[in-house]
């Protein structure tokens, strides 16, 4: 209903301002209804300004800033209605090391409500996981999975003791 959508939208808007500031360490983010008088049909405009910058449009954001803004919106939605599970495929590829750190910090607050499956090449992201699957193609063209664990002393993954995958 119209009322329900309006309430949810306002809540997501507040959440987005919060998650954006947490990921960027400041700045301003906002969601607006394009035609505010027609709540049930209106499109949604996204505005985002990293700290210290004067941005006209989200299209001028850098590659890493766009990813971080999209993640802020995802978490803002999850604060209203967490999805049982979430699958992220190499979302950390455009991020620098310090933003990967901010992402994994914020992620920790959502793991009680939702399950996350994160495909990644980055060791820092892997070290934030509770379980690790390695995918291999020892036989060319044929994928197999193997259970792994993170060796914090070495700072890299290794095969888990007994292979249950």
């Amino acid at each position: 209903s119209q009322q329900q959508f309006a309430v949810t939208f306002e809540q997501i808007k507040k959440n987005f301002a919060y998650t954006f500031q947490t990921l960027f360490g400041g700045g301003v983010a906002n969601l607006e209804l394009v035609q505010a008088e027609d709540i049930l049909e209106s499109g949604i405009e996204i505005a985002a300004q990293p700290p210290g910058k004067k941005l006209k449009s989200i299209m001028l954001l850098s590659g890493g800033e766009r990813t971080l803004t999209a993640v802020a919106l995802l978490f803002a939605l999850y604060m209203v209605k967490p999805s049982p599970f979430c699958l992220l495929d190499e979302l950390d590829a455009p991020l620098d090391e310090s933003n990967i750190g901010r992402f994994t910090e914020l992620l920790k607050r959502f793991v009680h409500e939702s399950q996350f499956i994160i495909i990644t090449h980055n060791k820092r992201t892997v070290s934030a996981a509770q379980a690790i699957y390695g995918v291999t193609m020892e036989e060319r063209g044929v994928s197999k999975t193997v259970s792994m664990r993170f060796n914090h002393l070495v700072g890299d993954t290794e095969a888990a003791p007994q292979n249950i995958a």
Binding site: Q4, F5, T8, F9, I12, V34, E41, S42, G43, I44, E45, I46, I58, M59, L61, R66, T67, T69, A70, V71, L74, L77, K81, P82, S83, P84, F85, C86, L87, L88, D89, E90, L91, L107, V111, Q115, F116, I117, I118, I119, T120, T125, V126, A128, A129, Q130, A131, I132, Y133, V135, T136, M137, E139, R140, G141, V142, S143, K144, T145, A165
Partner: protein, 165 residues
């Protein structure tokens, strides 16, 4: 509710029966380029009822069936099943665990199953309605598409917000 296991057989590069078990929290999936990580994401999207071959990087729906390798013949069918647990609350279901399965044959014939019983795609879609896992789901972010919500048009963004309402 959370994911308990994913089983693949003959789906894309997973020629042999493969099971991934999941726990609550964060699971990382790692491996070299081309080993089959994104194929796992495609398998989850497919078993949940994905109808667009393009969203699975294929041309026709049969492109998800194992095409063969130097050492293997092409498969004649493929099957993926998803095991979910603690389903009572979020799905309003009488079952504690549910398993959905999807199968497709080389001739294009597709089948869906709910706890072993044949069902239709509509039944699967109805089951997951309003959980954030369905079609418009913001919960499965494909490789390189993380920031897609920023480049889509304002009216296209509505669906994601409605799902949360």
């Amino acid at each position: 509710m959370h994911l308990k296991a994913l089983k693949l057989h003959g789906f894309k590069s997973f020629a042999d029966p493969t099971t991934l078990r999941f726990e609550p929290g964060v699971t990382a999936v790692v491996g070299p380029n081309g080993c089959g990580k994104s194929n796992i994401a495609d398998a989850i999207r497919w078993v949940l009822g994905e109808q667009s071959a393009k969203a699975l990087r294929g041309g026709r729906m049969q492109d998800v069936i194992f095409e063969g390798a130097d050492t293997r013949k092409p498969a004649q069918l493929c099957e993926v099943s998803l095991l979910l647990t603690d389903c009572e609350k979020q799905l309003g279901s009488e079952f504690h665990e549910i398993e959905i399965m999807r199968r497709v044959h080389r001739d294009g014939q597709g089948e869906y199953f709910f706890n072993g019983q044949a069902c239709r795609l509509k039944d699967i879609q109805k089951l997951f309605m309003d959980t954030g896992i369905g079609r418009t789901s913001y919960s499965i972010m494909a490789q390189g598409q993380i920031d897609q919500i920023l480049s889509s048009k304002p009216e296209e963004r509505r669906a994601v917000f409605e799902e949360a309402a």
